[in-house]
Structure formats: structure tokens, C-alpha cells
Symmetry: C2
Subunit: 488 residues, 2 copies
């Protein structure tokens, strides 16, 4: 069972890691099982004892296994059944989008108000924010009268751009010129403008894997190709892999989430961000930095966007109020030093300007401190939801299910038993009145077929709990059914 | 003076027309002057008498000249000094955008609140609409509470799509399925989505000449090329010229205004629309129909968009509330039968959805009849402004100035003395506190160098009158200065 393919060209210690991981995934090694001793593994695998030790330590770092003094290494128990391995896809070549029809069906589900909404990465619609925003907007309407119906300027209302700049200064100590900010129709248009500013049709854009499906649709719509880069749940994209991708393919830009990436929930450590921008500067590749979840760490620690790390790399940082306050306002922004003139030109050409009344309202919402207060009350709600959802998944899903450990944001990423088809689960869930996001849509080659993403961003209700229980049971049935099928 | 270039390959009668027109423009033939007799012209130009007669009749149809019984043809007087000739450009080949830096400067001017705003095609910010819209929005906020902060669906709020469909049924008797309508971030995003749905980077898009600069920027931003088609102030694009363009160039779509095109103000007659869609169907070329001014005819007659003429041509009709009610709401729409699924996919990829609160508010604004009432009060204001502006231009601008005769919308198009540089005038006007739109930006090859567009859509004020007087005087000075320069 423990045979190793010696033709494999990855590092020997990586082979040992893969071998153990596969056996854990397949259920051959169960939680509590002791790993083969260093000596035995060295012999079986034909690698040196220090190499095996290095692999076991890495597995421990990944929380796959734990070392027990004077006893050896053991598979960790269920409670720690996190997703910790770097994710990688079958192909590391630029690929067109394969899962569009399924995406259509996922969106049909998302737009249905009769479903339990676990399919959309939306934050809580906290009633206090609604009340405050409504009150603020009424004040603006009274104050600005018919002026508030007019066009905003192309780059956006100066008072809002000043408030966003101040928010960066306040939370991460970074000085931003309001003149480097362009207000957009939500975070998605921010990504669009940033992409159009630095790349052209036919160009290759590097993305994390798994990555936000909206990025994949955007890249595809612009006639560009996405290439996936191995992504580690602890650190984000693996820089050595990124370097290889940059060397192998004519990558024009990277579109990465630096904080709380969707769906994996990973936040790049500061040092990793620094190395990333240095690498990109060296290759003269732009970074389109998705930072829409930046304000939503449960611990309220705001990582510094790569934009502000002082590198000369071309970084275009995309933010939004859609995940924190008011999705329906459609207000986001791009920060860019190098490309702001291009962005202004593009913004004018594709949508003139963004909603004026909402910009004035949000400027007030930030200036008054209401936004900070709202975040303070939103984060604990999200954290509680995350804990409840993780606990319910642990209770109701099959034992081999692995999950991300959210430290912010509003989504949980689940790896289901390997044979399970998440598209089948998606169909069954829709029929049962539940929307989920199947893993397929988070990769251009639709490769996360046994993964799903669940959102905990909506107000928690009894129907949420019932839905998770139903999903867990259905996954167990499907997994058992699949196994039976295979045994016939 | 009346020599004809016999190498010219256009029809002979067209040569005669050009000859007379040039002499009128140059001031050689003044209003009231008698045209050379048919016989004399026949001899001078070396063409037959029937050909000269045909040319003179055409000139009469164009309101350049008038026939007096038993007397001959005379140059018409100043009061009728309309722009009537078909406009054409030096090149009829697809061309990249040449006037981008000037466009930037024009927008800088448009965005400055300290200038007299004659540079932007904005409707009156009628106070009654602001009051009603604000009241409606407050009601929505109270009714929909936090729901109104959420995402709208990709295609848009069903109640608004129903109201837009009903508005078409009500005003032009056309049945539209709400399912064929996608709500957009203003008319500009409607044009963007329509264009992306039917054409790809590198493709050629046919436009009127002169045409709305926003279309040219859009086409350029998408990596496409615009080709201009001769446009007649009475009928819109000349179909014979369009046919030639379709035969000579790989045109993928036409982007035309069918009603009150900007800046010329032309409305295509119904029969012409019919012939247009038949021609496009024959060539399998899509029509991106800009209809954002459709509700703004002074006579309240709503021409039927080409969309609804029963042809099987692929027509994508773009509308907006930006020119009629609330530019700052950023709410427009596309109607499409054939391409609505592509448009939904693209809408999701580029901006997810449009502002929800504004959609709910406008749905109510239409359903209550407030929108129709608002239009009824807006049209006479625009008509009065148009008349005032035309009268002031006639009074203060040099005699050879020719203007469009607006029958709706909010802009006046002026042809200034031939030698005048509208960019120079633009600079001088900005320095004097007035924003105008120089003709250059209405053609990819920047060829309307002696034209300007003035907007009468803003509330009329003493400063408006002073600005027009100032402009007229400055034009006279520049024209005189230029002539002096040439005499040196």
C-alpha cells in the first residue's frame, strides 16, 4: 500500500507527504493511527531517515499529524480535521473556463429567495447598519437636494475617496492619496477596471487555486486566460510555484486575494506579501489585489495590503462595501499609483461614474464613525456563525470531511469524500430548498469536484441548522452510495 | 471660382452640390444671393442642365437654397441657417481614437462645478423630480428595510423590468418580455454589455458621424475600431453609404442612435428604421441601438425603437434614466431578444448587478405615473431652453454659423466658420469660466474641428445667456483673427 512512484520529479520529502496524505484521505490511515516509524518509512519509501523526519515535521506543521514525545507521529483527530495541504490542480497551464453552465445554475439558485442561502458569500445584513445607512441617506437627500441626483465625477465623490484614504491610514497606517482612488460599481467593477488597465485580450492572468468564481468569469469575459498557482491554506500562493509559472507562461498580471481569500479563507503573512511583490516587481507583472474582505478578520487585525508595502511593484488594490455594509449600493474602489489615469479613462468609457447618493451616504457613514462601529458589531456575529457552522459540519458530515478554519469573512470551504460529486449534491440541495456553491466553479478546469463552499454570512436561523444537517446526511448517503456502486 | 475637379469620382450632381455648399460656407455666396442659372452652371461645371437642376432641387430639400417662381434659386436667409448637409469625414476606414487627450480635458471641464455647464448633455435637474424621487426612496427604505441594502439579481429587480416593459407598451405599443430586459449601471454600461455580447476585440463597429464621444471611448477601450458612416440631419445614417461600408469592411455591429442622436439631434424616420434593420439582417450585422433620448422629443411623440419593428435583425436597445430623471442613480437597461443570456453572463462578470434601492425607487416612480408626469413638465422646459439658445446663437455668432434644429433632447450642434479651431475656443472658454464640447471629440479622427456642441439641459440662468454671448463674440474674434492671419 505504501509504494512510492520513483519517477515523480518532486522533492523526495514531498513524496512522503503526499503518500501519507493520500492514505489519510482514503481512510487507510485513520485519526489516532500511528504513522510508520522513521526507520520503516525510510526503508519502504527508499529515502533517507532525515528526509522522512523532514516530511513528518511538515505534516505536523500542516496539522495533519501530531508528534507524541517518545512515541512517534500520529494522525490528528477529527476536531483538527482542517484543510492544510497546499491545493494544486491537474494542469498548471492557462485554461479557458469549463464550468460556465454550472455557474449559471449556481447563480439561479443564489437569486432564489425561497432557498436557504448558503451559496452566496454575503455578509450579515445587520439591521443596525441598515437603520444607520437609511438615516444617513435621508439626511443627505435633505441636504444635497437635487444635486444628489446628478452625475458623480468619474473618479468618484472626493469626500468618499478622502474617507477611504483615511480608513487605510487609520487601520494599517498607510498614507494613500485620495487622487489614487477610483470609486467603482462594487468590487467586481474594481477588478474589471484593474484588469483592463494592465492586460489585454489573449493575455494570461495568474490566480490562486481554488479562487473566487467571479474572477474566473471576469477573466473569461475579457478574452483572457487564467492560470492557476498552487495555494497553501496557511500562506496563500506558493511563491516557488508562482515563480515557475511566471517563467513558463507569459503572465501579464496576478489576481490574488491577500486577506481572507475566497473560498479558502487564507491570509498571506506580511513577509509572504513582501516576497510576493518583490517577485512580481522583478518580473514586471502587475498585482490585482482583491482586498474586499480586508475589514472582516474576526480578530479585527487589518493586514496591510500589498499596495502599501513600499515596493515599486505595480499593485492595484480592489476594495468594496459589498461584503461589509451594503451590497446593493454597488460601491467599491481601486487604489492605484501607476495606473490611475488609465483607470479613470476606462471607468468613463464603461460606466461613466458610480451612484452619487450612495457615495455621499457612505462618506458620511465613514466620517461619523458609524462604519467602524458597524464592523465592531458585525465581526463577532460572523465569528459565532463560523463556529456554529464548523461544529455542525463536524457533527453531521462524514468523518473524512475536511474544512477550512475561517479566521474572518463569511465562507467555509469543505473537502468531501473523494468520490463525491458536488454537482450532484448541489442539484439535490436545490431540490431540498438549499443553495450551496459546488467546488467546480472555483477553478477554470472545474477540478474541485468533491468540494463545496458554504456561506455563514446570513443571519443565523433554525433553517440554517436544518440545512447543514440535511447536507451532512445527504453527503453520507451519496458517499455510501458511491462506494456501493464501486463495489458492484 | 466655380471650377470643378473632374477627377472626382462622385456623381456629377453631387459635385455641383458640394461646389455651391462650399461657396456658401466660404461666404462667397451670401444669404439672398441668386445661384447661377441652370444654363450658366451647366456650362461652367461641364455637366448637363438636368443634372444641375437635380442638384439645385437637392439643395432646396436640404434647405440650403430656396426656389422663387419664375426667378431661380436663392441662398436661404440666416433664420434658416440650419445644418442640413449630410456629414461625412475624410476617411471612411476603421480608425483608432485620435482625440483622447482633448477628451480628457473636456471631462476635466465637465466635472468643474465653477464653470457654466454647456459641455455636458445633461437634462434639467427639475426640482419636482428630485422631490418626488427622494420621497419615493424614503418610502422604499421604510418598506424594504435592510432588504434594500442587499444585492439585486443579475438581470435586475423584476418590478422595474416590468415597468420598463410597460412603458414601451404604453408609449410605442410594443410588447416586451421583462425577461428580455437587463438593468445596467446607466446607459453607458448598457452600451458596453451590448457591444461585448455581439463583438470581440479587433472587430469593427460602424457609427454615425458625428457621434457621441462616449461610444468612441467605449469602442476604443474594448480594443475595437470605429468606422464612420455618412449621416444626414434629416434621416440619420445614409443607407447607401452604410451598405458600402458593410461591403468594404468586416463590420460586426452598428452603434446608432435612432432617436435624437447626440450631437446632431437626428431622429430616423420609421421607414428609414425599417430599411436599416432589413439591411442589417441581410448582412447579419447586429444593431446596438442607443435610445437614451427616446422620451425627450418636445412633441412627446415616441418613435418606435428599431427593436420593435418586427424584423429578425439582432437589435440590442439601450435605454437609461440618466437623461430623463436621475443621472446619479446609474440605472439604464438593455433590451435584447437574441442575446439576453450572453448579457446576463457578462453583467455578472463585470459588475454583478445594479443598485437595488434605486431600482426599487424607479419602479415605484414609473408605476405611480410620476415618471410620465415628470416628462410632461420636463419637455417644455427643454424646448424653451432650445429656443432661447438658438435665438442667442443667431444673435451673437457670426452670420455663417450653422446650427442643428433640436426637436428634443438637450444639445445644440454648431458649425462655426471653417477656419475656426474649436479646441482653441474650448481653451478660451474654460479660461472664461464656460465648459463646451469641441467637435473633435465626436469623431475618431477628430475631424469636426470647427464644430462645437452646447448643452441646454441645465436650468436656464443669466450666466447661460452671458456665456452664449461671450462665445459668439469670441468666435467672431477668432474667425476675424484667423482671416487676418491668412492674409498676412
Amino acid at each position: 500500500m505504501l509504494g512510492i512512484d520513483k519517477q515523480c520529479d518532486t522533492f523526495l520529502y514531498r513524496q512522503v507527504i503526499d503518500l501519507i496524505t493520500e492514505n489519510i484521505t482514503a481512510g487507510t490511515l485513520l485519526p489516532g493511527d500511528r504513522l510508520p516509524s522513521l526507520r520503516k518509512m525510510s526503508k519502504t519509501a527508499g529515502v533517507s531517515i532525515p528526509t522522512v523526519r523532514q516530511a513528518y515535521i511538515e505534516l505536523e506543521r500542516q496539522r495533519r499529524v501530531e508528534s507524541r514525545p517518545q512515541s512517534g507521529f500520529y494522525v490528528r483527530h477529527r476536531a483538527a480535521n482542517d484543510i492544510v495541504l497546499p491545493t494544486r490542480t491537474a494542469t498548471a497551464a492557462p485554461a479557458p473556463l469549463r464550468c460556465r453552465p454550472l455557474m449559471e445554475r449556481v447563480y439561479d439558485g443564489v437569486n432564489r429567495p425561497d432557498l436557504v442561502p448558503l451559496g452566496i458569500a454575503n455578509p450579515c445584513m445587520a439591521r443596525p447598519a441598515a437603520k444607520t445607512l437609511h438615516r444617513t441617506m435621508k439626511r443627505i437627500m435633505a441636504r444635497a437636494e437635487e444635486r444628489s441626483l446628478g452625475y458623480a465625477s468619474t473618479l468618484g465623490e472626493p469626500s468618499l475617496r478622502r474617507q477611504i484614504a483615511y480608513h487605510y491610514l487609520d487601520t494599517v497606517g498607510a498614507p494613500v492619496e485620495p487622487g489614487q482612488i477610483c470609486i467603482t460599481n462594487g468590487g467586481q467593477e474594481a477588478l474589471l477596471l484593474a484588469t483592463m488597465a494592465v492586460a489585454s485580450p489573449g493575455d494570461v492572468i495568474a490566480v490562486e487555486t481554488p479562487t473566487y468564481h467571479g474572477m474566473l468569469e471576469l477573466i473569461d469575459s475579457l478574452g483572457m486566460l487564467a492560470v492557476e498557482v498552487e495555494t497553501c491554506p496557511e500562506e496563500g500562493v506558493t511563491l516557488s510555484e508562482l515563480q515557475r509559472t511566471l517563467e513558463d507562461h507569459p503572465v501579464k498580471a496576478c489576481m490574488f486575494s491577500t486577506t481572507l481569500g475566497n473560498p479558502l479563507g487564507v491570509t498571506m503573512p506580511d513577509e509572504h506579501r513582501r516576497e510576493l511583490v518583490e517577485l512580481l516587481q522583478k518580473h514586471d507583472v502587475a498585482l490585482i489585489e482583491d482586498d474586499v474582505y480586508g475589514d472582516l478578520r474576526f480578530d479585527a487585525i487589518r493586514p496591510v495590503p500589498a499596495q502599501f508595502l513600499g515596493s515599486k511593484a505595480r499593485v492595484l488594490t480592489c476594495g468594496s462595501f459589498s461584503k461589509t455594509a451594503a451590497p446593493g449600493y454597488r460601491i467599491g474602489w481601486v487604489v492605484s499609483d501607476h495606473h490611475i489615469d488609465d483607470i479613470a479613462r476606462l471607468k468613463r468609457a464603461i460606466s461613466c461614474s458610480s451612484g452619487f447618493l450612495q457615495q455621499l451616504t457612505l462618506a458620511d457613514f465613514l466620517a461619523s464613525g458609524d462604519y467602524s462601529r458597524h464592523l465592531k458589531s458585525l465581526r463577532p456575529v460572523l465569528r459565532r456563525n463560523a463556529e456554529r457552522m464548523s461544529a455542525l459540519v463536524a457533527e453531521h458530515f462524514p468523518a473524512e470531511t475536511r474544512t477550512s478554519r475561517p479566521v474572518g469573512g463569511s465562507v467555509l470551504w469543505l473537502e468531501l469524500p473523494r468520490q463525491l460529486d458536488a454537482e450532484r449534491l448541489f442539484d439535490d440541495a436545490i431540490a431540498a430548498g438549499i443553495s450551496i456553491a459546488p467546488g467546480h466553479i472555483f477553478s477554470p478546469c472545474a477540478c474541485y469536484t468533491n468540494f463545496i463552499r458554504l456561506s455563514f454570512g446570513h443571519p443565523w436561523q433554525a433553517s440554517t441548522e436544518n440545512a447543514i444537517q440535511w447536507l451532512g446526511e445527504r453527503v453520507s448517503q451519496l458517499a455510501a452510495g458511491t462506494n456501493q456502486d464501486r463495489e458492484h
